[in-house]
């Protein structure tokens, strides 16, 4: 999984590359995202590249949310593609995460 990281204001924006966040890449993702979460506080995941997520992917993102919440911060999601959005709604993650159409909206929502 390739991750691109940038800071906008004080928000860490992580762009997930690689098209797929499923059971086969989840452990790699977790090891890569951990240092980012540790040094981050408020984070946005830009999911515009992700075409497919499965239940392990959802679990991994949830675990990121918990880690940030534990440190007092928060995780927001933006730019979900259609199939991923459908999945999120199926497992009701749209009630747990703040989901935004664009990166700017997501970043803006933190202030």
């Amino acid at each position: 999984m390739k991750l691109k990281q940038e800071k906008v204001n004080d928000i860490t924006v992580v762009t997930l590359r690689g098209e797929v966040l499923d059971a086969s890449v989840v452990s790699d993702f977790k090891s890569e995202i951990t240092p980012i979460l540790q040094s981050g506080y408020h984070v946005v995941f830009d999911m515009s590249n992700i075409q497919f997520v499965d239940s392990s992917g959802v679990g991994a993102i949830l675990s990121c949310l918990r880690t940030l919440n534990a440190g007092g911060g928060d995780l927001k999601i933006c730019s979900l593609t259609k199939p991923v959005k459908a999945l999120f709604e199926l497992v009701r993650m749209h009630k747990i995460f703040d989901i935004f159409e664009s990166k700017d909206l997501a970043v803006g929502s933190f202030s």
Binding site: V20, D22, A23, S24, F52, D54, S55, S56, V58, G59, A60, L62, S63, L65, R66, N69, K82, P83, A86, L87, L90, V91, R92, K95, I96
Partner: protein
């Protein structure tokens, strides 16, 4: 006058005068003993002995006779001078007569000799007495033993206790002549005459009455050899009014006292001596054992009957009260389960099919318990089945309406239900799949739960009809609502909501509703099996207290039948293969169905297959690489069916906990996702250990 010489006198015994009464037994015995003793004496000396009875007449005489014949005077006899000595005989303190010795004057020590001889004869007599007494003892013991043997023989035959007790009283009165006997048994607060051989009317009396009552409470025998003169209240023990001698013997075993055996005679026939009492004790003990045995026997029969009833009820349940869900109807998944409990009651259900796209469900509950309720349930169910047939022909309509059917049934069964003082709650539901409608007639039954797939909300099917059996002429009304794909209907009996936990709380409507809300995504069979596990956990018992019935109907869309071309792919058990699996799905969904599948459907299929294959790798093969997974796809009826085969551990959806949709869970969504992305999913394992996950997606 010539004196004949002693040798020439005829030796003859003096004949006993004809008018003399015959000797008593003791006199005769004494006479025999005397004869034996004096024989040598007579031989050696010229003496004769005459034995006179206490009354005065001669019993017997031995030796030459001097002819004197009379006790009173020591007169000279024919032999000239003769000495006469007399000796009185006494035996056991009673006079037994006199013996006279007639001898020549020269006989030395005549008196002393006579006394000695008489004493010797008495000695013989007494010895004989002892022997007799011993024999009597033995025969008394024998009698007792006999009684025991006889009655034991009766025990082993299947004589009922009443006749055994009667035998005992018959033996009791056989101890003498004109004996009467009653055998009293405790029954509640009273003593009742269980068997009797007596001349008067007997009625039950309080167990504390009279001497009989006293013996019963003391548990000790009492004998009256002179009853008339004993202190007792004549009003109590009324049958003993004219009794002369009475014996009361309690019926006692080590466990308890069950009653009293009373034996009495109104004349002076015999004494209640130790020998008689031994026999009566034996009889009383026998009677007590009969009663004890009988009570134990009845107790065990009662238990056996109870077990039998439960078994019968269970059989009735299996054969008459439950039904088989229709299995030829496409687009629907049904599961039904009925569990009978310790207390059988009248839960029943059945299905009626009307062709390929319509079927009815009847589910009902009889008020009452036990086999009668079960039979009423069976009869009511039968009535429903007949109603359909009757109305079909009388109305010339292949599908009589639900409300007409219920009205017909109520009319037929109400009279009988009233006779039973019972009623039946029921729900009649018609599933019309062509129109996607459910029509139901609810008659006071539990609120059927309707899970709406679209928004996950629950509503309840409620009607306002009376239960069956209240009024013959009642008209029932039906309600109709539409069914949407994925909707689930859950019917149940109140055995479910009325289960209790050890604290006494009811499982209740709320818990059930919540359970359905969380599990409605599962296959109906799993919904029910999970619910039953849940109930067992709740009540902390393996067995259910009440009968339970559950019927779950899920409105899916499709049957699972192969038709047409098949595509295949082999994968190995490595998560990196997930990508290949998804590409296979995409290809298949383009190539196979008649018209291409919508993009959204393809997405869902890919998701479902990813989840399924990941499960197989992670759980079926426990994450081990190198194992075989086969996937096949074929089109069918406008959609696609995928089969995923593996040879690892079968996935048991029932063992997977329900997902929780909050931020705590990291997983557990897999099965839920699969279930919601396709129209049909099933898990199975064949006997070659090949497990198959079947997924079907319709194209519309």
């Amino acid at each position: 006058m010539t004196n004949p010489s002693p040798e020439t006198l005829p030796v003859k015994k003096q004949k006993v005068a004809k008018s003399a009464p015959p000797p008593t037994a003791t006199e005769a015995r004494f006479s025999r003993a005397l004869e034996k003793i004096v024989e040598p004496f007579i031989f050696w000396s010229n003496a004769s002995f005459i034995y006179h009875a206490p009354a005065g007449h001669v019993v017997s005489s031995f030796g030459e006779n001097c002819g004197c014949g009379r006790i009173a005077d020591a007169a000279r006899g024919r032999f000239g001078a003769a000495e006469h000595f007399t000796c009185d005989v006494e035996h056991q303190g009673k006079p037994l007569g006199r013996v006279v010795l007639c001898c020549s004057p020269a006989t030395p020590h005549g008196e002393k000799t006579l006394q000695k001889l008489v004493a010797l004869a008495i000695g013989e007599l007494t010895a004989g007495d002892d022997e007799t007494a011993l024999l009597e003892e033995l025969s008394a013991s024998w009698e007792s033993l006999q009684a025991v043997y006889d009655l034991n023989a009766d025990f082993s035959s299947t004589k009922d206790p009443k006749s055994l007790l009667r035998k005992i009283t018959e033996r009791a009165i056989a101890v003498g002549e004109k004996v009467q006997s009653v055998l009293w048994l405790e029954n509640g607060d009273n003593l009742e005459p269980a068997a009797a051989n007596c001349n008067c009317q007997l009625t039950p009396r309080p167990a504390t009455t009279g001497l009989t009552g006293r013996v019963f409470s003391n548990g000790r025998s009492v004998i009256f050899n002179n009853f008339a003169h004993s202190e007792h209240d004549e009003e109590l023990d009324a049958e003993l009014k004219n009794a002369f001698r009475v014996a009361f013997v309690p019926l006692t075993t080590r466990v308890a006292t069950y009653g009293v055996l009373v034996v009495w005679q109104e004349s002076d026939d015999f004494l209640f001596d130790s020998r008689k009492m031994r026999l009566l004790d034996t009889l009383a003990l026998q009677a007590a054992m009969v009663v004890e045995n009988d009570r134990l026997h009845r107790e065990s029969i009662r238990n056996e009957r109870l077990n039998q009833e439960i078994e019968i009820g269970s059989k009735i349940q299996q054969t008459l009260l439950s039904g088989n869900p229709p299995n030829g109807i496409p687009g629907i998944a049904i599961a039904a389960e009925s569990i009978s409990s310790q207390k059988i009651d009248g839960d029943f259900y059945d299905f009626i099919e009307h062709g390929e796209d319509c079927f009815d469900l009847i589910i009902g509950d009889v008020m009452g318990k036990g086999i009668p309720a079960a039979l009423v349930g069976a009869a009511t169910k039968n009535s429903f089945l007949r109603a359909v047939g009757q109305l079909q022909s009388s109305e010339q309509n292949l599908r009589p309406s639900a409300e007409k059917i219920v009205t017909w049934v109520n009319n037929e069964v109400t009279v009988k239900l009233m006779q039973f003082e019972s009623f039946v709650t029921a729900c009649y539901a018609r599933f019309d799949l062509a129109r996607r409608e459910l029509t139901f007639v609810d008659c006071g039954h539990t609120k059927t739960i309707h899970y709406h797939f679209r928004d996950g909300k629950l509503t309840f099917l409620e009607g306002d009809n009376m239960p069956l059996g209240f009024s013959e002429r009642e008209i029932f009304s039906e309600k109709t609502l539409s069914i949407e794909p994925g909707d689930v209907f859950f019917f149940y009996s109140d055995g479910v909501t009325e289960s209790r936990n050890p604290a006494g709380d009811l499982f209740g409507d709320e818990r059930l509703t919540e359970f359905i809300r969380r599990h409605a995504y599962l296959e109906p069979k799993l919904i029910i099996s999970r619910l039953l596990e849940n109930l067992q956990e709740f009540s902390t018992e393996k067995k259910f207290n009440d009968d339970l019935t559950c019927v779950a109907v899920r409105f899916g869309k499709t049957p699972a039948e192969k038709q047409g071309t098949e595509m295949r792919i082999h994968l190995t058990s490595d998560l990196k293969e997930l990508d290949r699996a998804r590409r296979f799905v995409r290809e298949a969904s383009v190539i196979l169905p008649g018209s291409p599948m919508a993009e959204e459907s393809v997405d869902q299929l890919q998701l479902a297959v990813t989840e399924a294959v990941a499960n197989v790798i992670e759980h079926g093969y426990r994450g081990e690489g190198g194992h075989r997974i086969e996937m096949s796809a074929e089109s069918y009826a406008g959609g696609i069916r995928f089969e995923i085969h593996h040879w690892g551990e079968g996935v048991d959806p029932a063992s997977v906990p329900a997902p929780v949709f909050d931020d705590t869970a990291e997983g557990g969504f897999g099965l839920f996702i699969i279930s919601n992305c396709v129209d049909f999913v099933s898990y199975s394992t064949d006997d070659q250990n090949r497990s198959t996950i079947l997924l079907i997606k319709n194209s519309n």
